[in-house]
Symmetry: C2
Subunit: 302 residues, 2 copies
């Protein structure tokens, strides 16, 4: 139902065997990429996702390891013959940053529409996908994202008949639209079953933990989170550089009542993040060490 | 004596198993990089060359596959604690291009000195390394490079004694400096043996062949050259997009009396360039298919 792929899993600079952190999500034909460091297009090409289908690119912040791959990606998307607009969401200034990087990008066949995040919490709706952002604590302006996939309630024929809803309005009401007809106002709730739980995928890197962040990612079905340092002994280093250790991200996963945690954005100095997995699993059992091209398919609950 | 590494061997866009074309050369402590597409820093990290030691970066042209890796590389060089200046050589406009890409580059500890190529043929001297450039035929302003390593003549004691050169001037004269003393002018030729052959390494991609280019790369010890298409049947495509087929580069290697040819800058559509090697070797026997991290050490002739 929802395809998710961690394209890269590294932080700071790219390695041949660990590309820079980036994730892509696909739902109902819409493809959303978060972050695009140098080399993201290489991993994307190896994944099951298509350049042409990328609709939205979200940026957490403007450090090069999260955005330097954009000019190359814009050109590769262009070679895929995409003609529909591309939406780029990012911190204030995103338009100028992309303009600068685009000094080597010419002849795009598609438009770029920019959305600048203006305040500490924002929400953007694209059909049945809601993208929420939260400002996080880093050395520069930086945001976490959660992508909420809404699930439409089932249509209840008995309810529609009982409420005397003319059949010609059923389709509109099912699509959550209201219908005014003569003196009557027909509302979706007159034909629909109760709300159904959707899916929530959250992603943050480069930041320090706080209660706002825990609340923001609450009840995530999948939480993809900062894992710059593994060992608890690196806490002071993490604080100094405004990153997190595994146990801090695991604590956020636990306190937020999330279902699954993928750690990512590993320091290049950490050769084998699996050596430190217990710092996470001791706190939150369903913690996994992310790796390039790690893929998951999430389905709505029955 | 001269270390040369083809860092990547691909054109157009980077692949996980074939990074974008770029080469690095080291002689006498000086490191020169030519081209820097997305991912070049990943290959450089795997090579025996050091980020801190890069002195000069040369760009053939401003297509993204030759320059998009620059902002990441500038930052990674910075993390290596380089403090000496970095020289960047490129087509006219290079300063503005780097300025645009550097919108995500902050806090560099080293200075960047720009050299814009102003005319169709230029020459830049860095100690005993001469970098020559030639304008080539591509869709945008584009240059080929040759790096000429000068070799100092041997000191001839018998000659120095025979010419009555005071011993205190030997060292200066050996370094090719003239010495004026009283009414005498002492010249290097009074103490040195005859000129010795140096080494010449040439590099071009993205262009069509012509006589100027053949003359420019004449007598190269190593010629690293455009190999966008393998099969002779791709000639029309090569002409249309201003690239070359293997046999054209091999013809340049032969006509220029070069010693060895490395083909590079392969089209991503060409899965296995080795399938087409005979299109080159039939014309120039010492043709090799370049690959990422292909390394060679060249020594002066005895």
């Amino acid at each position: 139902m929802v395809d998710i792929c961690l394209l890269g899993s590294g932080g700071m600079y790219p390695l041949l065997n660990r590309h820079l952190t980036s994730m892509i999500l696909k739902y109902n034909g819409k493809n959303i990429l978060i972050d695009c460091g140098e080399g993201t297009q290489m991993c994307l090409r190896e994944s099951k996702f298509k350049f042409k289908n990328i609709d939205i690119i979200c940026f957490t912040h403007f450090h090069a390891d999260h955005i330097a791959g954009l000019p190359g990606l814009l050109l590769t998307i262009n070679n895929s013959q995409k003609t529909t607009p591309l939406v780029i969401i990012g911190p204030k200034g995103i338009k100028d940053i992309v303009k600068g990087l685009s000094v080597i990008v010419h002849g795009l066949l598609y438009d770029i529409q920019f959305i600048e995040i203006e305040s500490s919490k924002e929400s953007f709706l694209f059909d049945d996908i809601q993208i929420n952002t939260i400002e996080v604590e880093h050395t520069i302006n930086c945001y976490g994202y959660s992508i909420n996939i809404k699930r439409n309630p089932k249509f209840d024929i008995d309810k529609a008949i009982k409420n005397n809803i003319p059949q010609k309005f059923w389709s509109k009401l099912q699509k959550s639209e209201e219908v005014k007809y003569q003196e009557f106002l027909y509302t979706p709730s007159m034909v629909l079953c109760k709300e159904r739980k959707g899916l929530k995928i959250s992603y943050f890197t480069d930041c320090r933990p706080n209660q706002d962040l825990i609340d923001f990612v609450s009840n995530s079905d999948l939480l993809i989170a900062e894992g710059m340092y593994g060992d608890d002994e690196k806490l002071e280093q993490a604080k100094k550089h405004m990153h997190m250790i595994f146990s801090e991200s695991a604590t956020i996963a636990k306190k937020s009542n999330s279902k699954e945690l993928w750690l990512t954005h590993f320091s290049p100095a950490m050769k084998n993040p699996n050596d430190y997995i217990e710092f996470a699993t001791n706190i939150f059992k369903n913690s996994k060490i992310g790796y390039d091209l790690l893929f998951k398919n999430l389905n709505f609950e029955e």
